[in-house]
């Protein structure tokens, strides 16, 4: 019935149209919500980076020696894993944009399987560390290393769960060439998590 608003809609006239749905800003990759999360993630790690550098300024020798005690190969492998998984997600977005949802699905499954290598490598790395007494109860370098890398591992784990959801949505026709904002939103999160690892990696495994 159109008579619910008699003042605004006299009998015989249509009520005014409801406000248009929120306009989608094409300059925001994915959606606004994911960028709130991404900005929160960047803020969290920016603060941890500041703590790392203050600690490094106070204990330069401890950090110099600490880098040499870590398993460099593990850090390199995890960097290659993150870069490759990120690359495969980027290819999935391009495939979806070209209306090849089936190919996008293959790229996403590849990204997920590659991404699983990160936590698996972390398990091996922690076992390697513990066998050499690097248990996080030592100096400030160990403390910073475990705090930063474990926090990043949590973000990668969330990302893998999100990626599993994106794979399910893609497999069930949830995205198309004209609307795949959910996929782009996830890709934005995954690439940012990769970016954060690219910042963490030199701090512990490369910088003497």
């Amino acid at each position: 019935m159109w008579t619910l608003s008699p003042v605004l809609s006299p009998p015989g006239e249509l009520a005014p149209e409801p406000p248009a749905a929120e306009q989608i800003d094409p300059r925001i990759p994915g959606n606004k919500a994911i960028w709130v999360g991404i900005f929160a993630e960047m803020t969290e790690f920016a603060l941890m980076f500041l703590v790392y550098f203050v600690a490094r300024a106070h204990h330069p020798e401890t950090f110099h020696l600490g880098a040499g005690r870590l398993w460099t190969l593990a850090g390199v492998v995890n960097t290659l894993v993150m870069l490759t998984s990120s690359f495969l997600v980027a290819r999935a977005v391009l495939a979806m944009r070209a209306d090849h949802a089936d190919r996008a699905l293959v790229w996403l499954i590849g990204a997920f399987l590659t991404g699983l290598g990160y936590p698996l490598m972390k398990v091996l790395e922690v076992r390697w560390n513990l066998a050499r007494g690097l248990d996080g109860r030592g100096d400030v370098f160990q403390l910073a290393y475990y705090y930063l890398t474990f926090n990043h591992l949590v973000h990668v784990s969330w990302g893998l769960l999100g990626l599993a959801w994106i794979i399910a949505r893609t497999a069930t026709g949830g995205y198309s060439a004209s609307d795949h904002r959910g996929l782009v939103a996830f890709a934005s999160y995954w690439h940012t998590t990769d970016l954060i690892w690219l910042m963490i990696f030199p701090l512990f495994y490369v910088l003497p």
Partner: protein, 94 residues
């Protein structure tokens, strides 16, 4: 160059820069030159990922500038702490 080709080449460049950085840093002494090299490689890798994988070139300026600034945070701090580590330590001593 197609978008696919750009993504492929970016991935190869990121892998190459990672290996190069590790090779240069392995066994090096903590001097200014190596800090500058590590900071530069980190900054280039970050910018490549932001522009090519994240595709923020046409994004909202607030997003683009914030992420690009974040990508420079660690490289800049590597150099600053190397140059002014003692000063920073004295300023942050309770």
């Amino acid at each position: 160059m197609t978008a696919v080709r750009v993504i492929d080449l970016t991935w190869i460049a990121l892998i190459g820069l990672t290996v190069l950085g590790v090779a240069l840093g392995e066994g090096a002494s903590p001097d200014l030159a190596i800090s500058l090299v590590v900071a530069t490689i980190t900054a280039i890798k970050g910018r490549l990922l932001i522009d090519r994988f994240l595709e923020l070139g046409g994004a909202h300026p607030g997003i683009r500038r914030t992420v690009r600034t974040f990508g420079l945070l660690v490289p800049v701090l590597i150099v600053i702490v190397h140059l002014f580590g003692d000063r920073i330590a004295s300023l942050t001593t309770l």
